[in-house]
Symmetry: C2
Subunit: 544 residues, 2 copies
């Protein structure tokens, strides 16, 4: 494999395509790629899929009624398209939550309607809360003492007002070849100490402690500042476990309105707000469900390849770039391959993950249910944390019976930008093969294979145990600048030409990997100790 990889690495792309692909281990029928291109660009159903998920269903918070509808509708679509073995797999997640109606108004010193959203899983206001505000920024438990006895009957502004920035660069960008090349540098892995992880977790738990403190002090509600300017809102919250719901209503306020309150409070009597948060908990079923569908392979022993994207989203808007985009691409790839009647050697599986936004719950559940097992943590507090925060503490990792069945996994979760290449995720042995598979897409700007390891989405649980799991390089567009998790993440900010290209490439990558004689090279199963910096000192940080 090494020699072959080297030979491909020095060949020109034409040579690669002409030799390694055609003569090598990949016997895929290349005509199928042209058929995929034809179906994907001439008869795409992707816009209708994306519109259904965003316009008609809307924001899809895990276990909300909207997400239940998305779980139901995506399965129906798969069945209508002729996919097989359409099913869900449930896992314990917690409560659903949804917004029926909400508003924040300034009542004194004047009347104004503010831009605001209830924070996910915070309590309803049960009618209108009308009270004065107090600006009481808190970032750690030690800050509580400063405000003790001063918050009763008030609405507490918990964030530092700070000052805003200005938009000095274009929000909407595409990558140049040079930009992409920068990603192609292998970085040696170094794992930091457990203590760092613990501190991060402690910061997460702080939200619950603050809610507890504020409720104990008799505060009526809390308000935080949006972390973006320009009136954009997000509303992320994480207290979704049963029995851990926040006691108080909590709001995120547009940065401009938050700072206005802070200025008014500083120069006159405290402003009065009216808060309404008609939010609902949904406790019928605390399981969240991943959705799967298969295009069965012709060789039952050859295992499977898989595409995945998370179907859940936040609810400030309709979860379009994050991640109806990726979900619609995965579904469209399923539709194309099924419509064309292709019979791959390996089964092709299509995964729509759930609970991604709160910590990759769905993909970790799949990984630890089907691929590997890890012992649980003994400390109950740690054991209650999401797997994404603790997997690096649970040793040894033992391969499950299906560990070798999964030959490749492809994830899409970086907005609506077209595919420009693929991250090898440290699996450098796979790079020459990935290059041959992407070679036909050079004229679509998508033929780069870069060494970078990426984090933060659903390939991580699989890639972390050695399985060839990949994310694609995508044009950033305005994902990071203004869309990710915001109140304008709606259908209008999807670029259909980009997503059609992504669906064609996703379908092709699945086809090539499903047809390949050998599975893609795995990386070794991780074993402790992972490389740490032997000279690292713990960084002193203030205790919470």
């Amino acid at each position: 494999m090494v020699a072959r990889a080297w030979r491909v690495g020095v060949a020109s792309l034409v040579c690669v395509f002409g030799t390694a692909l055609a003569q090598g281990a990949d016997q895929a029928d290349l005509t199928s790629i042209n058929r995929i291109v034809d179906e994907g660009f001439n008869r795409s159903e992707l816009p209708l899929t994306a519109a259904y998920l965003t316009d008609r269903i809307g924001g899809r918070l895990t276990n909300s009624p909207q997400m239940r509808e998305a779980e139901r509708w995506t399965q129906q679509q798969y069945r209508d398209w002729g996919l097989k073995n359409v099913r869900t797999e449930g896992f314990e997640f917690g409560r659903g939550w949804s917004i029926e109606k909400s508003s924040v108004r300034l009542l004194k010193p004047r009347v104004a309607t503010y831009s605001a959203i209830p924070v996910a899983w915070t309590a309803p206001s049960n009618g209108a809360i009308t009270a004065t505000i107090v600006v009481a920024p808190m970032t750690k438990v030690a800050d509580f003492e400063k405000w003790r006895g001063k918050l009763k009957g008030q609405i507490v502004l918990v964030t530092q007002p700070d000052t805003g920035g200005e938009p000095l660069v274009a929000p909407f960008v595409r990558l140049s070849r040079e930009d992409i090349t920068k990603y192609d540098t292998y970085k040696q892995p170094v794992v930091s100490m457990e203590e760092e992880l613990e501190k991060r977790l402690e910061r997460g738990r702080f939200e619950a402690k603050r809610d507890e403190f504020l409720a104990g002090e008799g505060a009526l509600a809390w308000v935080r500042k949006s972390y973006r300017e320009g009136g954009l809102l997000h509303g992320e919250g994480y207290q979704h476990r049963r029995g851990q719901s926040p006691k108080l209503p909590g709001f995120e306020l547009a940065a401009e309105h938050y700072r206005q309150l802070a200025r008014l409070a500083k120069t006159g009597t405290a402003p009065t707000l009216e808060l309404i948060s008609d939010v609902r908990y949904h406790d019928e079923d605390s399981n969240a469900y991943n959705v799967f569908a298969d295009l069965p392979g012709r060789d039952a022993k050859a295992g499977y390849v898989m595409a995945g994207a998370h179907l859940d989203s936040w609810v400030a808007s309709d979860g379009a770039q994050d991640n109806a985009a990726g979900s619609a691409v995965v579904m469209e790839a399923a539709r194309i391959l099924t419509k064309l009647g292709l019979k791959p050697k390996r089964t092709i599986r299509f995964a729509l993950w759930n609970g991604e936004e709160q910590g990759l719950y769905g993909s970790f559940n799949y990984t630890e249910r089907h691929l590997v097992s890890r012992p649980p943590l003994q400390d109950p507090a740690r054991a209650a944390l999401p797997a994404y925060a603790t997997w690096n503490l649970r040793w040894p990792v033992t391969p499950g019976p299906d560990y070798n069945a999964l030959a490749a996994y492809f994830n899409l979760d970086n907005g609506s930008g077209k595919i420009r290449g693929i991250y090898a995720e440290g699996n450098i042995a796979a790079t020459p093969i990935l290059k041959t598979w992407l070679a036909p897409f050079a004229s679509m700007g998508a033929d780069s294979v870069v060494a970078t390891t990426t984090y933060g989405t659903d390939h991580v649980p699989m890639s972390a145990v050695g399985i060839p799991g990949f994310q694609f390089v995508q044009d950033p567009l305005d994902y990071g600048s203004r869309i990710h998790h915001t109140s304008i993440d709606s259908y209008d900010h999807l670029r259909m030409e980009d997503l059609k290209q992504a669906a064609v490439i996703m379908a092709s990558m699945l086809w090539m990997s499903a047809e390949r004689d050998q599975p893609l090279p795995k990386r070794p199963l991780p074993s402790k100790p992972l490389q740490t910096d032997p000279f690292e000192y713990e960084v002193e940080t203030p205790s919470p």
Copy 2:
């Protein structure tokens, strides 16, 4: 003057400052400029003034309670600072209007809170209107027939959904010297035919006809699309005359939400909206009031110079860049000059205009009350239009008794960007003098004098009758890209360093022009015919 202008034009800036200014017609005490700089940068009160106008008073729609409060408070500030002859001048404008509370929610096929604002001067909803929508774009009277009989009991979406653009350039920009140089080209004036004006006015009247049609058809309300993307809202409306108020509630909806409704309507049963518009008319006084304050001159016969900015705004936010910025600069210039105890030869007058946003009502009123007279139009329909739309039809222009008293007028109304120079507004004879006055501010980037004529704000009525009336060149910042009239035109998007610089330069220009021996050269009083293109054919446009 020509020879002198040429000499200055080729001299270096140092020469200009050293010769023309010190030896020339300007006997101003240059030490005063350093005192202005000291007071303006070391003891500025501009941030407090701007915060009061935006945070505490908020959006200042002409004749709204907020604008009444702004009229009151600005006079009080002037008196507290020691300005003289603080007063208002009223003129007939129409009704006030304000928003107490409003919301738009999608109820079917799902529940969502939409970003929306009632359009100024539209009718209240009297509780909630819940109805299905119909997408019925109308741009001219002829479009009405298409929809007759189809709108009863529904909420009508009157704009084409179109598609949005993407933000491909940086929203926040400053001017390079090269950018500014492009403005310095004299364009010969050519007046277009009257018919063009009539067509523009007809388009304006279309809004009233559409409201009439929709009400006659039994529609319940109308909704238009925001003309900016990214959730930004505006809400401009123009039916402020008594007896001309719209019959129906009208809303502007975020572009993203508007298009969502259009897509949902196209692919399923008509969506249901819930509209609430608790808006109020204010009929106590139909006069709007300009606010004036004077720093009296030592020579009663020397006339006066004037600075101005409009105090009124739209109400989607707090009217910060448009135009609390300019108002605060004018007020700060008044404060600085008064605080320093300067005694100019000419009186310096500070004007805060009203009704600018609906058509330069305040500054036209001042011009036709104090400076010139024009005969009224005979046609009552034309006579009812704002002066800014008809002044070019009313001949002859006769100078009033105070015509020669106003030696110079300086306007600020292009957002929060610092001053980079001044538009000569076609008064090229004044350019060498303006250059000498700006020369001290070269190191603040503000010494350009450019020939361009600008429109759309309150120097126009004065400049149009030959009075030396000027706008400043300002750094654009994000005024045009996302702030102008929008829901985020709030204090956070003011740049205080820029505005302090503008106040210092405004004060200095007033001082220099008030001290100059001779008034600035006027342009001739306009007389008919103005230059038209003798070969122009009327462009065929569809009748409304």
